[in-house]
Structures are given as C-alpha cells and as structure tokens.
Symmetry: C2
Subunit: 125 residues, 2 copies
C-alpha cells in the first residue's frame, strides 16, 4: 500500500500542473468520483480524466492547506483561486489495495450568512 | 501525543451525547474555532463550550462517515440529521503537543446546481 498522504499530494500537484498523464497514473481503473452537493458522479478513469481536463477549463490554481492520510484513507483541504476569487475545496479519498485512488468525494462550500441564533456567541473575521 | 483519530472520534461521540464535560476535556484551553463560510471565530475553551451547548439547540444527531488522523492533524466527514434533513459537515483539526484540540476549521457545504458546462461529463444520483 502506498502512503495515502503522498498519493494525494501527487494528485493535487498533477492537477495544478495539468499533468494528466501523472494524474491518470494515480487513479484506479474503476475510480468513482462523487460531488454530493450537485449529486454528480463520474465512473472510471477515462471518464474522470475527461471530466477534469474538459470540465474546468478556467485559469484556476490551487494551494494545499492540509492533507491528512491514514491507511487507505486521506482527506485534503485546498484553496482554489480563479479570476481573483478564492474558495476552499474539501476532498475525501479512499485508496485500493494497489495504492490507487478508488473513490473521491468532493465538497465546495460557499459563503453563507451567519444565523442570528448564534451571532452573540462568535466574533467575525 | 494522543492519536488524532481517537481524539476526533471521542469529540464527535461527546457532541452526539451532549456530554460537554468529556467534550471540554478534549479541548486545549486556547482552542480556536473558525467557520470560513460565515467568517465566524470562537476563541478559548469556555467560549467554545458555550457556542456548542447554546448555539445549536435543535434535536440534531450526527453519524461519522470518515475520520482520518495523521500526527497532530485530523479530518472528519460527518452527516448531520435534524428535522428530517441530512447534510454533511467537514472538519479539520490540529492538536497541540498534549494531544488536545487546538484548532478546528469547520465547513457545511449546501446543495447547489450542477453547472451546465460539465453536465455532459457526469451522471446524477
């Protein structure tokens, strides 16, 4: 088993470099991607490569804030920047027995209003 | 250093049980909580306990989907359920040298529309 932290670091480095060959080499043939917020799913390495290479054509750049790996599981928090905007992305990864990424679950939380019910319990930044 | 996975599992078990004494015992005195979506911040164990005990009075329940721990870092993905709704919560944790939770960054991604630009590249579920 490869180290999940190292695999996810390589995944994000390859995405940032648009190095789709290296990116593909990290994926299991039967990789499944899910985005629960939109309820979108992509199955298989070829479809997932196309999704990444064609689905996000903008001039985005990412920086890794945290990667945590344990056994076959990892999580990452990245900051994406595009057209002067910055927003966080959170991903959970499961690796297969060969150390390839077999499952990716991806979250992109947007800004939202602070509920009045807890406004007296926090500060703002 | 305590194991970060174990500490975060205990954190969520205590939250689900509303066992605020156990919850407090897992926190560093100078714990800092941040919610980047609302840009809210809470500093210190006493304020953070009050934030949790008073800020979320509903009949919520949580189930852990993933916890990943590595050294002093951990990430969790939980599903929260309340009033028939279910929604995911993602947290990143940093522990101090005593194994206490010193930093929590919390994300609650809501549902959103699938961009038309990648609709041909995914299936829906």
């Amino acid at each position: 088993m490869d180290d999940a932290h190292r695999v996810v670091a390589a995944y994000w480095a390859a995405a940032e470099a648009r190095d789709w060959d290296t990116f593909a080499g990290l994926l299991a043939e039967q990789v499944v991607y899910e985005g629960p917020q939109t309820r979108e799913r992509v199955r298989g390495r070829a479809a997932y490569l196309r999704f990444n290479a064609e689905g996000f054509p903008g001039e985005w750049h990412l920086t890794v804030q945290r990667i945590v790996g344990q056994g076959p599981h990892a999580a990452s928090w990245i900051e994406m920047s595009e057209a002067g905007e910055r927003y966080p992305g959170l991903c959970f990864f499961d690796l297969d027995a060969d150390g390839k990424i077999a499952r990716i679950t991806d979250f992109w939380p947007g800004p939202c209003e602070l509920p009045a019910s807890r406004a007296h319990l926090v500060e703002r930044y």
